[in-house]
Amino acid sequence: MNKIKILLLFLTASFCAVSILSVSSSAHTVSIVVEHDPQYTGWDIYDESEAHHSNYTTAITVNKGDFTSADFGNYITNAVTQWNNATFNGTDLLYMKESSTGYIKFCKKTLAQMQKVNKGNAWAFVYRSKATTDSNSHYTLNSGNVEIWVNWDDVLSAKATGCKTHTALHELGHVIGLVDIPASVSPNAYLMCNEFGSYYSVPKEITINDKQGAAVILGQHTNHSFSNSGTWNEKIDNTQHRRICSVCEGYTIQNHSFGAWSDYGQWLQVRFCCCGYAQYRDK
């Protein structure tokens, strides 16, 4: 199981006074650890050392770059609108808008250009090797810093509308900090699925799971909601259980915590953990 601990670090109180268009460089003061194996959560995120967008109040600015409305441009506009309008747990998930000086720039690339920097072919990818970040691995917001390379002319232009819609949405998900969901979890249930092949129906919208991951990495969701209900506590083995946040489905792993022993029939006693795991002993 690929358990990756994500350290979510949030800004100080001074953060509230910072313009939503500015770069966050304040020291991180609060840390929360959640685990997020996509097999259980349906979302996965870059860890704190990998480049990603800073937080949910800082604008994600997107430049259509090489694309116009006549080709991929309208799909980019749709993706920006969908992300910007997305809500999570009753509030705005993030702030995204188009800008001719956006720090994210869509670039039209050939098969050759993409093959030269990547092992393997693809419709699109976020090319992060040249992107600059601050000391917290947050992308700096200078114009065109993060390039999204799209193989439009050779491949994607010939694909179905759903593939184009998916690609623009999916790549912006990477900039936010969401990681691909492998086909072993699901080929097409989430926006961040990327191993769907030609014959799957590609996801064309931001699912609740994608929003959960985005909310966690952007700090939009910080107060995890754990309960003693069996529904949100899942036994792993005889020692540990997974304690799941009912809002984001991220989890912590804890040792079982049992209640008091009580009689169970004439000869035995039993005690229960919140995950429903029962231990027995002779009376």
Binding site: A112, A122, H166, T167
Partner: protein, 267 residues
């Protein structure tokens, strides 16, 4: 569409011919002239044996999360079709450029952060069954510092077969990674080892894979201590060439013929 209508037996014979030329027919003097960009010496051991003295340790691994990656050989055609012609060439790695040398040579800053430049010796054109003797350059994604997992930098002396799109001896060429095979020249029966891309399977019309079913994926340390190459399939070279030839012919792909021909014609 032009096609090289070469009977299958000719291809197989040509592949057999190429076996003998696999490692011994390198032009040593020319090779030595070209060695030395990076000062790395040639390798001669079996490609299935770990290199006891790898020269690199990767600082980091490139993690390009790509969308719309081919999930099968059939998907792969989306990325082959756009090319005007196809080829499948055998080549030996001659030498590696330092990033600075590659940038100075090409003017492309890609070599400073994302790719490595090599001198290669192209020795055989499988699709047209002809020996070649072309010295040219190859760009490969990744650098010694920042590598792709399972794809360490090449070492001089390593021999590969690959589709090199838009091949032009006077340009910097690049590899079509899903069709990259390491060629084992030590064995009598030349084998091609497919690097990575487990989902790209080569299945004949009866639905049977042409790969050796007894082969288990194998990691072998070559140039980099912490990044072994990952061979996922073993295929007899002649079977692989026959498969690609017939498949590409059936898809009406044009075979590239604009090479500088054979060594003899060149001379």
């Amino acid at each position: 569409m032009k096609h090289s209508l070469i009977p299958k037996y000719v291809i197989i014979a040509a592949v057999t011919l190429s076996i003998t030329a696999c490692s011994s027919e390198t032009v040593q003097d020319e090779k030595n002239d070209l060695l030395g960009h990076s000062g790395i010496s040639a390798t001669s051991h079996s490609i299935l044996e770990d290199n006891a003295d790898p020269i690199y340790v990767a600082d980091s691994f490139v993690d390009i999360q790509a969308t719309g990656t081919p999930q099968s050989y059939e998907d792969l055609q989306d990325f082959i079709k756009p090319y005007e012609s196809v080829n499948f060439l055998k080549y030996e790695i001659i030498s590696q450029y330092t990033p600075e040398e590659a940038y100075e040579f090409s003017g492309d800053d890609m070599f400073l952060y994302g790719a490595t430049l090599y001198d290669i010796h192209v020795t055989y054109d499988y699709m047209n069954s002809q020996p070649l003797d072309i010295y040219t350059r190859l760009s490969s994604a990744g650098t010694p510092e920042s590598q792709f997992e399972g794809f360490p930098p090449y070492l001089p002396g390593e021999v590969y077969a690959c589709f090199l799109p838009d091949f032009d001896e006077n340009q910097i060429n690049y590899e079509f990674s899903e069709l990259l095979f390491a060629i084992d020249c030590i064995s009598e029966d030349v084998q091609a080892y497919h690097l990575g891309f487990e989902k790209i399977n080569f299945v004949d019309q009866t639905g049977k894979s042409i790969a050796d079913s007894d082969f288990s994926p194998l990691s072998v340390i070559t140039s980099t201590r912490n990044n072994p190459v990952y061979y996922v399939k073993k295929i007899q070279s002649d079977k692989l060439v026959e498969y690609l030839y017939n498949d590409w012919l059936s898809r009406d792909y044009d075979f590239q013929t604009s090479f500088r021909k054979t060594k003899e014609e060149h001379e």
